[in-house]
């Protein structure tokens, strides 16, 4: 057992009906790293993320969290170690402050803890000026920053980002990625970042994993993968041929 690994996945199989939608023989997520999972649409990337969030039940295989079988814990106890940011911000029709406080409230945090942490994380994401704003009055970029603050404030052991920037226009996306990367690094937040955008994946990643045709095909650091794709399909996807 490698204690550097926060997550260890072995022989994972997820089916929808009779169709295999994801097969992962082995995958580790090291503590503190950002693992970008890339692949074409429909390849099975989000299935991996939803399985790790315990929002999908795998048909077979094992997921170890901190070396222990994740299945041993209740869904709620497990999910309180993670935080999920989806493609759309999915904010609630409340003030920005209340949206960011939501996950802390679920965990029974005290009012003083919430009052201390919410302004701090809004400041870190550069949206402190929006505290009292109604969430539905925000721009797309602002809303996604709030969504990230809502997840990061939980200081999760594992942050799951599901195409979290793909709905934003390119300049907004670039700004947000520039701001997010140091935040994740400084807090050593273990992150699984699912995207179909190779450039975005490479920009944020410590390591990359490529999923194609519902199967994990290659894992390694970005340079390794781009320089030595394992086959023609991979080379084609990476724009090498």
């Amino acid at each position: 057992m490698n204690d550097k690994n926060l997550i260890t996945i072995k022989n994972l199989l997820v089916k929808r009906g009779n169709k295999v939608v994801l097969r992962v023989n082995e995958l580790f997520i090291k503590r503190g790293e950002i693992l970008s999972v890339v692949g074409p649409n429909g390849a099975g990337k989000s299935t991996l993320l939803l399985t790790l969030a315990r929002l999908l039940k795998p048909n077979a295989g094992q997921i170890l969290f901190n070396g222990n079988p994740a299945q041993k814990e209740s869904d709620t106890a497990y999910r309180r170690k993670i935080a999920l940011v989806m493609q759309d911000p999915l904010l609630f029709d409340l003030s920005v402050y209340k949206n960011v406080a939501l996950g802390l409230e679920f965990r029974g945090a005290s009012k003083s803890e919430i009052q201390e942490k919410v302004p701090l994380w809004l400041e870190r994401l550069g949206v402190a000026n929006l505290t009292e704003r109604r969430a539905k009055k925000l721009s797309g970029g602002e809303a996604q920053r709030i969504s990230l603050a809502r997840a990061l404030i939980l200081e999760p052991e594992l942050l799951l980002l599901d195409e979290s920037f793909s709905a934003l226009d390119p300049p907004t996306r670039a700004n947000l990625l520039d701001d997010l990367k140091p935040l994740l690094k400084n807090n050593a937040t273990t992150t699984l970042f699912v995207t179909h955008d190779l450039h975005e994946a490479r920009k944020l990643a410590t390591r990359m994993a490529i999923i194609m045709k519902n199967s994990l095909r290659q894992v390694g650091n970005a340079n390794e993968i781009f320089e030595a794709p394992i086959d023609e399909d991979m080379a084609h996807f990476l724009g090498k041929i």
């Binding site: 969030a53 999915l90 939980l154």
Partner: protein
């Protein structure tokens, strides 16, 4: 009819009966509507169809059904509830509960289904997830409450059949209007009608104020 103490008593009784029936409908309708909206079980569509049909139940049919149940020779005859305010509350609950269930279910189904995943992804337990969805759907849920109240405060057929329109006991605004109209006392009937409209407006105005607080 003496004026105004009797009218005050009739108005108060109407409000008490309809508010209680709406409250009970909410207690039944909120969990059942949530179950129908979020649950996955065999026969869900069938139960939704039943509820949707129930939203249009004719009050006289409800009155007939409840009267048969509470009649002295009926299955609940021993409880001596026929021609009591309780009988009217039961009938009005049968009328408004499907309205609250159906509109609760529709309100929750109109939310983005990914909100549930997002709530779980932030560590919500099942009850925290449901509470957050209720809060998110608070505007249509209050509309469900208003529709439930509206369906019973203005109802006459069932109240007449199971309440009997007994003076000082089961006479409510709508049955009093019918009685006064039958006697040709149009002025009193009209005054009662205006009073009923005013009460309906005030209750809905209060609920709308709660509903729209914070909206621009």
């Amino acid at each position: 009819m003496t004026f105004p103490p009797e009218i005050f008593q009739i108005t108060l009784l109407s409000l008490q009966i309809s508010a209680l029936a709406t409250g009970i409908s909410l207690l039944i309708g909120l969990p059942l509507g949530t179950l129908l909206a979020l649950g996955k079980f065999w026969g869900r569509s069938f139960f939704l169809s039943i509820v949707n049909t129930g939203m249009g139940l004719p009050p006289v049919v409800v009155g007939l059904f409840v009267a048969m149940m509470l009649w002295r020779s009926g299955p609940f005859g021993d409880m001596n509830l026929i021609y009591t305010p309780t009988a009217i509350i039961i009938a009005q609950t049968v009328i408004s509960a499907p309205v609250v269930i159906g509109l609760t279910s529709a309100a929750l189904q109109s939310l983005d289904p990914r909100l549930r995943l997002q709530l779980y992804g932030l560590g919500a337990s099942r009850w925290q997830m449901i509470w957050a969805l209720w809060r998110e759907a608070r505007l249509p849920l209050l509309a469900a409450l208003m529709a439930g109240f509206g369906s019973v405060i203005s109802e006459v057929g069932a109240s007449m059949m199971v309440g009997g329109n007994i003076r000082y006991q089961t006479r409510v605004l709508t049955t009093a209007i019918v009685l006064e109209t039958g006697k040709g006392n149009f002025e009193i009937a009209l005054a009662l009608g205006v009073l009923l409209l005013l009460i309906t407006f005030l209750v809905n105005w209060a609920l709308t104020w709660i509903q729209q607080r914070g909206e621009e």
